[in-house]
């Protein structure tokens, strides 16, 4: 693919690309990693408080509390996304904000809001899973394959 791209470029363009690549600032991997750990861990810690709330107040088991916990986090993520606050956090958090389920909700909600001007059907609903869709598609395909293997081979 890279070669095909190069064929269409003049030598000057290739030279420019090489200079640009050399001058490109390196990714601050360590800084990103530490921030992802702290913010991602922090979101899971909040999740743990929510889970403990459901266990203590509604007498749920830990397994049963997982679903309402996820739904609660999704609610707050949608709210913070609407207020424009989640995306501000995401500038720092990187994967720390996109890997937790709140990041999934953020992807859905921001697409839903962004396309609101095109209407609720053609805009919001059509584009809601534009970013988050691949996770569902690949999740379902992979889960189907894994479950089938488990049922047919190991059972």
């Amino acid at each position: 693919m890279a070669n095909a791209k190069h064929k269409k470029m003049t030598p000057a363009m290739i030279a420019y690309e090489q200079v640009a690549k050399r001058r490109e600032p390196g990714r601050p991997v360590l800084r990103n990693t530490v921030l992802a750990f702290l913010i991602g861990g922090g979101i899971c810690l909040i999740g743990q408080f929510v889970e403990q709330f459901y266990i203590t107040v509604f007498h749920m088991t830990r397994a049963a509390a997982a679903n309402p916990t996820v739904a609660t986090l999704i609610f707050f993520s949608a709210l913070l996304t609407g207020l424009g606050l989640y995306d501000r956090l995401a500038q720092w958090g990187g994967a720390g904000t996109s890997v937790p389920v709140t990041g999934f909700s953020n992807a859905v909600t921001s697409a839903a809001i962004e396309h609101r001007s095109e209407g609720l059907i053609a805009g919001t609903s059509s584009n809601m899973f534009k970013i988050a869709g691949p996770v569902i598609v690949f999740g379902v395909v992979a889960a189907f394959a894994v479950a089938l293997v488990r049922i047919l081979i190991f059972k």
């Binding site: 990714r27 991997v29 990103n32 990693t33 992802a36 750990f37 913010i39 991602g40 861990g41 979101i43 899971c44 810690l45 999740g47 743990q48 408080f49 403990q52 830990r62 997982a66 679903n67 916990t69 739904a71 999704i74 949608a78 709210l79 996304t81 609407g82 207020l83 995306d87 994967a95 720390g96 996109s98 890997v99 937790p100 389920v101 990041g103 999934f104 909700s105 859905v108 909600t109 839903a112 809001i113 609101r116 609720l120 919001t124 609903s125 809601m128 988050a132 691949p134 996770v135 569902i136 690949f138 999740g139 379902v140 992979a142 889960a143 189907f144 894994v146 479950a147 293997v149 488990r150």
Partner: protein, 126 residues
């Protein structure tokens, strides 16, 4: 009421933070070192969660790290497999298809519902 003992509760907060943080670190490294876009990173993590549950590795993680395992997107893959297997044990192979969204219903429904409501209430930012 079968509450965990005080000490165990404290430990689960620590593990939730550490394990949840580490899964995010894996995601960050896939993006920074592997130089993959976020969408592919999320797909890799979901598939990894599904495979981990197939191998029986995810449930032990959930029981000792709590939200640290159930909040990251890997748990979505895990929950899809879990629902499929639970239904398959009841109804046979067809259960794989009918049960796949059983556990994840809360997450998907909440995302759609709150995303839609947010679109009604909020204006796009910049």
């Amino acid at each position: 009421m079968e509450l965990d003992k005080k000490g165990e509760i404290d430990v689960i907060y620590l593990w939730a933070f550490v394990v949840g943080g580490l899964i995010c670190v894996i995601g960050q490294l896939i993006m920074d070192v592997g130089k993959l876009p976020p969408s592919q990173t999320m797909v890799i993590l979901v598939v990894a969660g599904a495979v981990a549950d197939g191998l029986g590795w995810y449930e032990p993680l959930t029981s000792f790290a709590g939200a640290g395992a159930s909040v990251p997107i890997t748990s979505f893959g895990n929950a899809l497999v879990h629902g499929a297997l639970a239904e398959a044990h009841k109804d046979g192979v067809i259960g794989v298809l009918t049960g796949i969204f059983e556990v994840t219903s809360a997450g998907i429904s909440a995302s759609i519902l709150f995303g839609f409501l947010a679109a009604l209430v909020f204006q796009p930012k910049g």
